[in-house]
């Protein structure tokens, strides 16, 4: 293996340099952000309770009023009272909490967990956080009690019918997930989202407020709807517009006060300029690049205080909406690239400091390693269908190579006419080794969105949101987090006649009969399909109830103020149906590779070649293959998903078809939203694997499921081209009820070495685009690096690894997940 190790990725080289005590080669040219970062390096995140405290205080006072108005008033109360901080050396103002690495609380969501959480968070294995004893006391005594019985989570737990509840939760309180048809709506107010930041830069919140005032004046004083629904909404928009401006101006006051005592003339000038910025934006339109960055950042941070969006709020098409300001400043000689990059990186620092806190144990397990996906989108096409890349695109990519942390979550849109320079820059950035940017394919997203009702202009202007999603910020509308469905459990239920080893005699699925009595593969397949449909039905019923409940628990006046349709119809984004909107929901297929490989093994060895009997198979699985090594080995030799093997891929396509057909029938016409099949697990394939006993693909008890649309661990023996093709083969291209598929490809640096390697990576990306796959991300690393990091975490604290749609620090992950990463097949070409 020596040859492979000779070649270090630049990221590995930087780590090695750090271990040897050498200075990072980008430190000099990025001294401000390095200084900022070093202040919180290695810090365990702290919980800041202020947002929760002031939000709760206000909510106590406004009971009985329309929810959207209560929400706006609560945000005003937060804006008036929350501590305002001006950080040394920072160029941007606006934080949702204390200095350093911090997270905030959303008790309205899952406050019933709060008291348990503040006890457990500091010591929990996955993603721990600290809280001061005083704050912990206030949470337990002042915040949590108010929310008891009122949270969305409790309401949901009460509202699920017994058949749905039993596949959702493992206990009457709904605190423990079954990890079968798992709901994700109770640890985020909505699925991930992106705002139309460009609108704020152009118009400012004062103009939105003016619009709301005009609409308010024009309401029909006799109309019920106008007065009972539209009026509170418009009042809420006015309040929230005032709130964010007030909050921004408090920063101006503080920055000015600090400037007065500042000795360093350079910093003094910076502080004064920052104060001027905060006085101007986001109320008024931005006039230059710095103001534009400040306006976006205030908007983003205030939005994070408004509610917990799934995976934090995304950044949208930054290289598009910032471009006019950047260009004008450059032309006027007001700014150079280094200064523009510094401003952007000040924003990356702010993102790195904010931790997307998941206080429930299920949420924590879903999002290990303090993951967040504040996707910054670059590239793609203009609404007119032309290539959209510009100088700012290249500057953001460059920053991604040089900025030492894995923020922001960078997404590059790819289309069939993407210029060579763009793809080379993207490929070179990927080669850096941190897995960024992830790639999203216009050739899949745009036609799908048009087929679901968007105009070409809207679809061409989509922004990547969260992990792998795509949003049209003024056309698509909210929905809650969808179900994550453990289909490996469906296989187990076929083998155990509706039961699971972990849950004993309890009948959770359908009693499809003793599989030993099945005479043909078709019988087995029908039994699987029956369990699959039960899970889908359960997920859709769950979602139906969630969608009804959501509007009673959540409102989002600020996000709605930024949405064209909400302003047009004077309706909050959390309402179930927004006129003219398109509701893009999804549910998650967990364990595609695990299920396909298991079904292949059963079909081939039990029914076709009759190498083992069903009885023997079940015996071996019951024994977790202990004492059945030969059977385990045989099962593993079955055709597997991820190898471009028609045998396996045909089964994969049939499985996909069950889901898209079900969606086609029951989504829009019955559930009322699009509810499309998606293959994006974050890190949840690990906890989902824990509840499933051994499976017929030779996987042992509790082992992680396969991840997204990637192959089972080590099963993809034919290399990365085959993985891509299997993905393509298992898609039902003629049907529309599908959403994202997440695909991880790992390369060793040797594979992509030199210009020749970059060229091959570029052509690989072009083929990915040709195949119309939704998403791909690359991990350029040596296995040895990971093993070393596992042994010596302190030395590899900044090792960035790509997992499940985002990057995290390798050492932040549990040993479980580290092993999972290491076990994945490396695609080495020697």
């Amino acid at each position: 293996m020596t040859q492979v190790c000779e070649c270090r990725s630049p990221q590995e080289q930087r780590l090695q340099d750090k271990i040897e005590g050498k200075e990072d080669k980008f430190r000099k040219s990025h001294s401000r952000v390095f200084k900022l970062l070093e202040r919180f390096e290695g810090q365990k995140p702290r919980i800041d309770i202020e947002r929760a405290l002031y939000f709760t205080e206000s909510m106590k006072e406004t009971e009985g009023q329309p929810l959207v108005l209560r929400w706006a008033k609560a945000l005003m109360h937060v804006a008036k009272n929350i501590t305002v901080t001006v950080q040394d050396d920072q160029l941007l103002l606006g934080r949702a909490g204390c200095d350093g690495r911090y997270g905030i609380l959303y008790p309205e969501l899952d406050g019933d967990f709060l008291d348990i959480a503040v006890r457990d968070l500091p010591t929990r294995a996955t993603s721990p956080a600290t809280i001061t004893p005083e704050d912990a006391k206030r949470v337990v005594e002042e915040i949590a009690p108010y929310w008891k019985g009122k949270t969305f989570h409790e309401d949901l737990n009460r509202s699920l019918p017994p058949d749905v509840h039993k596949l959702t939760y493992d206990d009457p309180e709904g605190l423990i997930s079954r990890f079968i048809v798992n709901e994700t709506a109770s640890f985020r107010s909505s699925i991930q989202w992106v705002h139309d930041y460009g609108k704020i830069l152009r118009r400012g919140f004062n103009d939105i407020k003016r619009e709301a005032e005009e609409k308010l004046a024009a309401l029909d004083p006799m109309s019920c709807k106008d007065n009972c629904e539209k009026r509170p909404f418009l009042e809420a928009v006015i309040i929230v517009s005032e709130a964010i401006v007030l909050w921004a101006k408090r920063h101006a006051v503080m920055a000015r006060a600090m400037a007065q005592v500042e000795q360093d003339p350079v910093r003094k000038a910076e502080l004064l300029r920052m104060a001027d910025n905060a006085d101007r934006v986001p109320g008024e339109p931005a006039r230059d690049f710095w103001e534009a960055c400040q306006s976006q950042w205030f908007t983003q941070m205030f939005s994070r205080m408004e509610q917990k969006t799934g995976t934090t709020i995304s950044n949208g098409r930054m290289d598009q909406y910032f471009y006019p300001y950047y260009l004008a400043d450059k032309k006027a000689g007001k700014i150079n690239d280094a200064q523009a990059m510094e401003l952007l990186e000040c924003m990356w620092v702010g993102m790195a400091e904010f931790i997307d806190m998941y206080i429930s144990p299920t949420g924590g397990a879903f999002n290990e390693g303090y993951a967040h996906w504040e996707a910054v989108t670059v590239g793609g096409q203009t609404p007119d269908g032309r290539d959209a890349s510009n100088e700012l695109t290249y500057l953001i990519l460059k920053s991604k190579r040089e900025f030492p942390l894995h923020y922001p979550d960078l997404a590059a849109r790819i289309h069939s006419r993407a210029p060579e320079r763009y793809l080379w820059d993207v490929a070179e950035t990927i080669k850096y080794g941190s897995g960024f940017p992830k790639l999203i394919n216009d050739e899949e997203v745009v036609p799908l969105y048009v087929s679901k009702g968007a105009t070409f202009e809207e679809a061409l202007d989509y922004a990547v949101s969260g992990c792998t999603e795509a949003r049209m910020p003024n056309r698509d509308t909210y929905t809650s987090g969808g179900a994550y469905i453990n289909f490996a459990a469906a296989v187990e239920m076929v083998l155990r006649n509706g039961r699971m080893k972990k849950y004993g005699d309890q009948v959770l699925g359908v009693e499809t009969g003793d599989p030993r009595s099945f005479k043909t593969w078709e019988e087995f397949w029908e039994a699987y399909k029956t369990q699959h449909l039960l899970f889908l039905k359960t997920a859709f019923h769950q979602q139906y109830i969630i969608n009804k409940l959501r509007a009673q628990h959540f409102a989002q006046p600020m996000g709605s103020a930024m949405h064209d349709l909400c302003m047009k119809h004077c309706i909050d984004l959390h309402q179930e149906q927004i006129p003219e909107g398109i509701n893009f929901g999804y549910f998650e297929y967990m364990g595609l590779g695990t299920v396909v490989d298991s079904l292949c093994a059963v079909k081939k060895f039990v029914f076709e070649e009759k190498k083992i009997t069903m009885d023997k198979l079940i015996e071996a699985i019951d024994a977790n293959f202990e004492g059945y090594d030969d059977i385990k080995a045989l099962l593993k030799s079955a055709p597997c998903y991820g190898n471009n093997d028609p045998y396996a891929d045909a089964i994969g396509k049939e499985i996909d078809k069950i889901s898209v057909e079900f969606g086609g029938k029951y989504s829009m016409h019955d559930l009322g939203i699009h509810n499309d099949v998606r293959y994006v697990p974050f890190t949840s394939h690990v906890p989902f694997g824990k509840v499933v006993s051994a499976t017929p693909n030779g996987r042992t008890d509790g082992f992680p499921l396969s991840d997204g649309s990637s192959a089972s661990h080590g099963a993809d023996v034919n290399g990365p081209t085959a993985v891509l093709l299997s993905n393509y083969n298992t898609k039902n291209m003629g049907m529309r009820d599908r959403a994202a598929r997440m695909l991880n490809i790992k390369f060793t640096p040797k594979c992509v070495e030199g210009d020749e390697g970059t060229e091959k990576l570029v052509s690989f990306i072009r083929t990915f685009c040709d195949l119309k796959l939704w998403h791909v991300q690359f991990n350029v690393l040596n296995k040895e690096t990971l093993l070393k990091a596992q042994k010596d975490p302190n030395k590899y604290r900044n090792l960035i690894v790509r997992i499940a749609g985002y990057s995290a620090y390798f050492v932040d992950l549990s040993p479980d997940l580290q092993n999972d990463l290491i076990a994945r097949t490396e695609h080495e070409a020697l």
Binding site: R401, D630, A633, G719, P720, T721, E759, D770, L830
Partner: protein, 322 residues
């Protein structure tokens, strides 16, 4: 071979098809490895490629152990497999030399026993190669024939090349040059790239270390270089400790190549990745544990570069654009 057999139905002995090969020819390629070679290089990293017939291999690392499995012992009709020390089966290679069906390998659930080499038709091979067409189209890659010496199975190799050409698959070949001149001339028109091994210029040393002298190899090289002026050629030297890892030899090769102005050159450092496979075949590792001195490799590359300039391909990690 009968003249009536269409190219697509020609059969040959193939021991591996490897997708996503990025170091053997332009673009993203699929390598088809053909069995059989006239040379017996001591450093050969594909020992399973040397014989024309299938080889039975035993990978102890994958074997489950006789106590847990033992299917091979039961399956062998010759009683040639028995329980050895440490729970592993031992193969009596003499007793199973004439076995055709290798029932033991079929019975093995763990790919501990496997057979290198299978008769496959051109159509079958190309259907696998064509799976990655979408990648060749973008990367200008395609099929690389390798081995063994792929041109040794002349009829099959030529049928493969003709049929691939017919299907618009770009072909490259990796050859040691130890084949009849007529075969080289017949193959060349179907090739987009030749990777040609030049191991040593001294016939006596060549014979001593590979079993054959090098006259025919060099003659074939000249045929390709002189008679097919549009065919890109990459000459390659595996740099082997104790054989050619010295200035004199490398200089001689570089100077031999120098007049062929369109021929590029690459030096491949010796690696021990094939070692494992000798053990699978119950064969001695001819090179033992020898390793190539990295510093020496750099010096030799400098030397070749001084003769051939930019025609020498050198691996380099491009430094990041600042």
């Amino acid at each position: 071979m009968s003249q009536e057999c269409p190219d697509s139905q020609q059969k040959g002995m193939v021991f591996n098809i490897q997708k996503f090969s990025v170091h053997d020819g332009p673009g993203i390629r699929t390598i088809v490895f053909l069995k059989g070679c006239a040379l017996r290089c001591r450093w050969c990293s594909n020992p399973e490629s040397q014989l024309a017939e299938p080889d039975l291999a035993f990978n102890a690392g994958r074997c489950l152990g006789v106590s847990k499995c033992g299917h091979c012992i039961v399956a062998c009709p010759y009683g040639a497999i028995r329980l050895g020390d440490s729970d592993l089966p031992v193969i009596d290679r003499k007793a199973c030399a004439d076995c055709q069906d290798k029932a033991c390998a079929s019975a093995c659930p763990a790919q501990g026993l496997l057979v290198y080499g299978k008769m496959r038709s051109v159509d079958d091979v190309l259907s696998v190669v064509e799976q990655d067409m979408a990648f060749y189209v973008r990367s200008r890659g395609g099929l690389t024939l390798s081995g063994g010496e792929p041109l040794l199975q002349k009829d099959f190799a030529l049928a493969l090349l003709r049929e691939a050409h017919e299907r618009h698959i770009r072909c490259a070949i990796e050859t040691c040059g130890m084949v009849p001149e007529a075969t080289v001339r017949a193959a060349a028109p179907y090739l987009r790239q030749v990777l040609f091994d030049i191991k040593h210029l001294d016939p006596a040393v060549h014979k001593a270390q590979t079993g054959m002298s090098n006259e025919r190899i060099l003659a074939n090289f000249r045929i390709l270089a002189e008679e097919f002026p549009d065919l890109p050629i990459l000459a390659r030297t595996p740099v082997i400790p104790g054989f050619n890892d010295n200035a004199k030899t490398i200089k001689a090769i570089a100077e031999f190549l120098q007049p062929f102005s369109r021929v590029e050159y690459e030096m491949l450092p010796y690696h021990r990745l094939g070692t494992q496979k000798y053990l699978f075949l119950d064969r001695q590792v001819p090179m033992g544990d020898v390793q190539l001195n990295q510093k020496k490799m750099r010096i030799l590359r400098d030397l070749a570069q001084s003769v051939l300039g930019a025609r020498l391909h050198r691996p380099k990690e491009k430094t990041k654009k600042a």
